[in-house]
Symmetry: C2
Subunit: 149 residues, 2 copies
DNA sequence: CGCGATTTGGTTGTGCACAACTCAATAGTG
DNA sequence: CACTATTGAGTTGTGCACAACCAAATCGCG
């Protein structure tokens, strides 16, 4: 092996890439029942926390730029879960509001995290430890690769 | 909060999603110098380890199905890094071989992992611990969500 | 007030991921 | 040997991610 450091198995980054895809795949059947994709589910989580953010705030929360978010919100609107509203004072701003159907979906989504938790880790302490480790890593990454958006 | 378990900050999965994207973003400028995207880089890593696999073996290694891999390999071929070869014995099989340019690229890619390692973790032990943890998690996930491919 | 700079959301184009499907080649079975 | 099932790669369609760019609205300075 000319360059052992290039071995795929040793690449931490590939692990993240793969786990991220596996997790999305694990969510897929659960979210399909709700008519959502995984990124759409993340957006709904933000709205269930606090309704009516601007597209920009939503993007900050999800770390997504308008190029990704605009069509995603459009699809949520087409699904009847969300309503777009032009700002009155500042007409550049667009706020995103839950419809009744969007609000109602929260009840049906409530069980989703638990259904996945079992797959992830065996016990709560290791879950929390892994979570803390990843949060620290995400912050370090965030600092080194500033997201424009 | 009606359903505290739905809070975005508590979602381990969102962390993976985000870190995976941040990592890809961290690679992007380095790989742009080589004319590669991150998934293309992963494919090249496999080829540098062992040249001439079938499309299926490449997919097993990267956990990608033919729907993703076929166009990716086509782009690598268009970039002159790779050559496709129909199997002689079994004409269904297509093997992927490095060209001279593809082999030469390994030298230029040799420095990439180190350039990123500093961003990821501060010291080798924590790198290895995180790697072991993620490998275990990936295996648990792999077992629970069998990849068709 | 007038006008250039910034902000906000959107569009376009490229590439990845995946489901569903097609089609040819091969393997297996009666 | 004929015929069906399976395998292997590829195609199509949808959606996400991101870079580059755009237009309109607002801001701010002279």
């Amino acid at each position: 092996m000319a360059h052992p450091q290039l071995q795929l198995d040793h690449q931490l980054c590939f692990l993240f890439h793969r786990i991220s895809r596996d997790l999305t795949a694990a969510y897929r059947p659960l979210l399909a029942d709700l008519g959502l994709t995984y990124p759409q589910y993340l957006a709904m989580l933000v709205l269930w926390e606090r309704d009516g953010p601007g597209v920009g705030e939503l993007g900050d929360r999800l770390c997504l730029d308008s190029g990704t978010l605009s069509p995603l919100v459009r699809r949520l609107e087409a699904a009847g879960l969300v309503r777009r509203q032009r700002g009155a004072a500042d007409e550049r701003r667009v706020t995103v509001h839950l419809t009744e159907a969007g609000r109602a979906l929260e009840e049906r989504a409530a069980g989703v995290p638990q259904q996945l938790a079992a797959t992830l880790v065996d016990d709560l302490p290791s879950y929390q430890a892994l979570h803390a480790e990843l949060t620290a890593l995400a912050q370090r990454l965030e600092a080194s690769t500033p997201r424009s958006a």
